[in-house]
């Protein structure tokens, strides 16, 4: 590990860092190109542009155009079939100049070694994740999100693994690792283990979700802290957004994670040599890989860096939650059947030749209307905010981003007024059977959706199941309606989002006031819509097209007349 051991290289790094310390409003493309070429890499650039569906107020961008610079270190005597990626996302708000300096120093060091068996791509992207998305789409020659970008001139085969590096401050006292990717995808656990090994080897202070690793698992504090970390991971994974540019690599089956150097104001701090050594070690290990990382788990939850909860342990929990829905549906089915028995002329013993399904007995027509209306409501929620932003800005004194969020909320709230509209449409022959049939359909619909979500993104599925299932099971037009209504509203997807935000900040030990929480909620809504359009995150369409209409059905059941 001779990285930066000689003073010449260290001075060079210091010079680079000083040069880069000026705010990086625009990526110094020509300078980066020259520097990478002088280090001995094959350098290419890629320009891209993207018009966001509406202005992004948190990152202050709308018409984005930028340039990615990447240099390829060709493995000697190999045929460029495999590669590893070290990427540093740069943006106007997150100056990552320390990381760029470290990347160049690592490139210079790696270039002098002859043991590389895989090409190494050193990628500096502009506009952080947007640049990464543009580069990845161009590398794989696909267009998922409508990004306009120039084709790549140089490629390096199939990417086996990627590491994203973010150093947010000059002083690094701990390294935080982020694994949650787009739509809750996770990298192979072995990549995390690799990082953890080098953390221990280099004596680095490594954190997960910004939490220190509990030392003592026998006392009560350790598991409690583990639980906090676990909950933070569940919330992050459920959000479905990429937490770092590594998240976008996972779609292309490239195992990736993000390392963040954090100044957490502790006593001891690390110079970049320690971080560089850990990175060098990781790359050398990945370089030796014969196959892609596949031996370890892809589905896990992390209470600590050295512990994980495997899918076999956590899946039954969701299974039992969904069983509640199934049992309730079965009960309704039997009640409907008995009610049908009671109404119809008494028949022989109910054997296997049970009459038609109750929904048909009730008449499909009574179910079609609420189903269609709630689905249409979901569709409106999905389409209208972005489509109607210009109309809204013309008629109201709001900006586009505000218009989108407010339209979103307005349509969401308008959905609650639905029962008063639908009950006129429905034939009122058998009111009791009507709501039972509707609830039966809604329960099965909810169970199916939650089952599918839990399989792909466990955290999201679990979070939604724990909130939605009790209210959904309890909802009926008799009894204390106001209590049920309050419960239903509190467990609606939007309320879950709001609650999750408060919980998240609480767990991070930065509690929110109500006003701040509301602001954060509005920002999260806008971000959710934007991420769907820019990266293809699925949370927004899932909630608006799937769970919101389903939830409306229960609302409908509650106010059945």
């Amino acid at each position: 590990m001779g990285l930066l051991s000689d003073p010449v290289r260290r001075r060079a790094l210091a010079r680079l860092v000083l040069r880069l310390n000026a705010p990086l409003w625009v990526l110094p493309v020509a300078w980066l190109e020259r520097t990478m070429r002088s280090v001995g890499l094959e350098v290419y650039t890629q320009s891209f542009s993207r018009k966001l569906p509406f202005p992004d107020e948190t990152h202050e961008r709308y018409m984005v155009s930028g340039t990615n610079v990447y240099g390829i270190l060709r493995a000697p005597r190999a045929a460029s079939t495999e590669s590893l990626v070290l990427t540093v996302p740069c943006g106007s708000d997150s100056t990552n100049s320390q990381a760029v300096g470290l990347l160049l120093a690592l490139a210079a060091h790696f270039r002098g070694q002859i043991y590389w068996a895989k090409d190494i791509v050193f990628l500096v992207t502009e506009h952080d994740l947007l640049g990464t998305e543009a580069w990845l789409e161009a590398y794989h020659d696909v267009n998922v999100t409508g990004m306009q970008s120039s084709p790549l001139q140089g490629r390096a085969g199939a990417i086996q693994a990627a590491v994203a590096l973010e150093l947010s401050s000059d002083v690094v006292t701990s390294l935080d690792v982020a694994v949650e990717g787009l739509n809750g995808q996770l990298p192979n656990l072995d990549l995390l283990n690799l990082f953890q090994t080098f953390c221990q080897k280099g004596g680095l202070l490594c954190t997960l979700q910004g939490k220190l690793q509990p030392q003592d698992w026998t006392s009560l504090d350790g598991p409690l802290q583990g639980l906090q970390t676990l909950l933070l991971m569940v919330l992050r994974q459920a959000s479905g957004r990429p937490h770092g540019s590594h998240g976008l690599f996972l779609r292309y089956r490239v195992e990736a994670l993000t390392l963040r150097g954090i100044n957490s104001f502790r006593q001891y701090k690390y110079d970049l040599v320690a971080v560089g050594k850990a990175l060098e070690g990781m790359f050398r290990k990945l370089n030796h890989l014969l196959e892609r990382l596949h031996q370890s788990f892809f589905l896990y939850l992390l209470p600590g860096l050295s512990r994980f909860v495997s899918i076999g342990l956590y899946m039954p929990a969701v299974g039992f939650l969904l069983l509640v829905l199934g049992l309730k549906a079965l009960e309704l089915w039997m009640q409907l059947h008995e009610a049908g028995m009671g109404l119809e002329e008494p028949r022989g013993a109910p054997g296997p030749s049970v009459p038609l399904p109750p929904s048909q007995g009730v008449g499909l027509a009574s179910l079609v209307a609420p189903l269609l209306i709630s689905q249409a409501m979901g569709l409106a929620l999905y389409v209208l905010p972005v489509l109607g932003q210009h109309v809204a800005t013309q008629h109201f004194p709001v900006a586009e981003a505000e218009a989108v969020v407010l339209t979103l909320l307005a349509i969401y709230a308008a959905g609650l007024a639905l029962p008063h509209n639908t009950h006129r449409v429905i034939s009122t022959q058998a009111p009791d059977r009507g709501w039972m049939a509707l609830k039966l359909v809604a329960l099965i619909y909810l169970a199916l959706q939650l089952g599918c979500i839990a399989l792909t993104n466990f955290s999201l599925g679990f979070l939604l199941a724990t909130t939605m299932v009790p209210a959904a099971v309890l909802a009926k037009p008799h009894g204390p309606r106001t209590v049920y209504a309050a419960l239903l509203v509190l467990t609606s997807p939007a309320a879950t989002l709001l609650g999750s935000l408060f919980l998240w900040r609480e767990l991070q030990e930065a509690p929110l006031s109500l006003a701040e929480g509301w602001q954060l909620f509005l920002a999260a809504l806008a971000q959710g819509v934007l991420e769907h359009h820019t990266y293809g995150a699925l949370l927004f369409p899932l909630l608006s097209l799937g769970l919101y209409p389903c939830w409306l059905l229960f609302w409908n059941v509650l106010f059945w007349k």
Binding site: R34, R37, S38, G40, E42, V43, R74, P76, R77, A78, A79, S80, T81, E82, R111, G112, Q113, I114, H140, D141, V142, G154, R155, G157, A158, R251, Y252, R253, L290, E291, R292, H294, Q295
Partner: protein
């Protein structure tokens, strides 16, 4: 950049000597050559060539029979020391004398590029081609990396490259020469100098550009006797700037696009950087059968327009028997990028057909590009026997263009792979065991057994039974 990569390539060619049929009767002799080319990036390329010919009694009859023409590639094999040792043993002087002294494995594999080849072909001994001799030509090319070996310095010597110097020619050799490319890149003055000063120089058009070579003849006794060894040194008068290297007229790039394990697309980008001349390229693609090509998706576009190939030969794959073969003649417009893409579906293999490392991916062999690239400088046709061996690496047919064969990079494609882990194997094993046990037990348990009486006294018994039935007594 898709130069030819080190790759064990097995081409069995029974083609005739073609246009350059010889008049001079070939001898059983060795010609050896080392060409050193300093590249503008500071790296140095060294190419060894050894040629031996011997007479044979084998008679050639008729033309090449295409039935015997085979083409095969092992894309996952990378050349290593194992390949160098037997290769060296084919040389008449092994690595004892002559240029082959320089072939030291630890230096040759400390380079950024390595490629070695063995060519064998029949050569006509007379104009009517009634008798032939065989030619064995061995080539080895390496590119020494200025960054790795030079520590930033860009001056070179034989000793620094190979940690050996030349001491004596191979006694069997009829010709043993070292050529050093001293072409001036800038017009104003010389950029590099060689030491010792060469006795003669040689000028020719190589790859469409005029080149000057300094010649060191090992058979010239004065050359070595002066200092008992020859250590050629290269010094840059003005070190070259770190600029992008000049782009060749024809280069290509190949990649797999798309994501997921169901479908994908093979794309080949062909670059023609010639400012005003278009030229045709013959593209040969062999794709393994487990990538099921959709031929109707074959698209060739250059400059945003569809480019119709003038010739297409396609031989579909047969599962487990033969790969897809796709051959096309494509005209590349001047200064353009042509994209050839074809979609495929990844097949699911039988579980025994996966390699021991299925998650590594499966290799797709490189496509082969053969082209007559127009040259900037008109070359005059030369006598092949008289000119240096390296001239025939890029044969010139009519002076205005030269022949180039390029191999693109091989590809690594992931196929849908079952989880070959311990649980998977346990499940497979237990399922087999249970199926076998269950089957036989079920068979045993559900079968009803009847004890069949041996038939004795067929006719008498039947008669007796008839009588007994008539009497109303149960039969025997």
């Amino acid at each position: 950049m898709a130069a030819a990569m080190p790759l064990a390539l097995l081409v069995l060619l029974l083609l005739g000597p073609g246009g350059w049929c010889l008049a001079e009767p070939p001898r059983d002799s060795l010609r050896e050559e080392l060409v050193i080319t300093p590249l503008p990036s500071g790296d140095v390329a060294a190419t060894f060539q050894f040629r031996t010919r011997w007479d044979s009694e084998l008679q050639r009859k008729g033309d090449t029979d295409h039935y015997f023409l085979r083409y095969a590639v092992l894309p996952r094999e990378v050349v290593c020391t194992e390949n160098l040792t037997p290769w060296k043993k084919l040389l008449p002087c092994s690595s004892k004398a002559g240029l082959s002294v320089l072939l030291k494995a630890d230096r040759l594999f400390h380079t950024s590029y390595h490629s070695q080849a063995v060519h064998i072909r029949p050569v006509c001994r007379n104009a009517r081609c009634t008798s032939i001799s065989w030619e064995l030509r061995q080539t080895l090319s390496v590119v020494f990396d200025a960054f790795i070996t030079g520590q930033g310095k860009k001056d070179w010597s034989l000793f620094r490259m190979f940690s050996r110097t030349l001491t004596e020619p191979c006694p069997l050799a009829s010709e043993s020469r070292v050529y050093v490319d001293i072409t001036t890149y800038n017009q104003d003055n010389e950029t590099l100098e060689v030491h010792p000063p060469p006795t003669t120089t040689y000028q020719d058009v190589i790859l469409g550009a005029r080149k000057t070579y300094a010649i060191y003849d090992l058979l010239d006794t004065a050359m070595i006797n002066n200092s008992r060894n020859l250590n050629i040194q290269l010094k840059w008068k003005r070190p070259p700037e770190n600029e992008a290297p000049p782009v060749p007229f024809l280069h290509a790039q190949r990649y797999v696009s798309g994501y997921g394990l169901q479908k994908g697309e093979l794309s080949t980008l062909l670059y023609n950087t010639h400012p005003y001349r278009a030229f045709p390229v013959l593209l040969l693609d062999t794709v393994p059968w487990y990538l099921r090509l959709y031929v109707h998706t074959l698209t060739i576009t250059s400059k945003g327009k569809e480019n119709k190939p003038s010739y297409i030969h396609y031989q579909p794959a047969q599962d487990r028997l033969q790969p897809h073969l796709l051959e096309m003649l494509i005209q590349l417009p001047a200064n353009s990028v042509t994209k050839v893409s074809i979609q495929f579906e990844r097949a699911l293999l039988k579980w025994t057909e996966y390699t021991p490392d299925p998650n590594h991916g499966f290799y797709v062999s490189p496509s082969v590009l053969s082209a007559l690239v127009p040259s900037m400088v008109a070359a005059k046709p030369v006598d092949w026997e008289e000119s240096p061996l390296f001239n025939s690496l890029f044969p010139v047919s009519d002076g205005s263009n030269y022949f180039v064969r390029l191999y693109t990079e091989p590809l690594l494609v992931n196929l849908p792979t079952p989880d070959f882990s311990m649980p998977y194997n346990v499940i497979c094993l237990t399922c087999t065991v249970v199926a076998v046990c269950y089957g036989s037990f079920y068979n045993l348990l559900t079968r009803t057994f009847h004890i069949e009486e041996p038939r004795t006294g067929g006719l008498a018994k039947r008669l007796a039974n008839l009588i007994r039935r008539a009497r109303g007594v149960p039969p025997l």
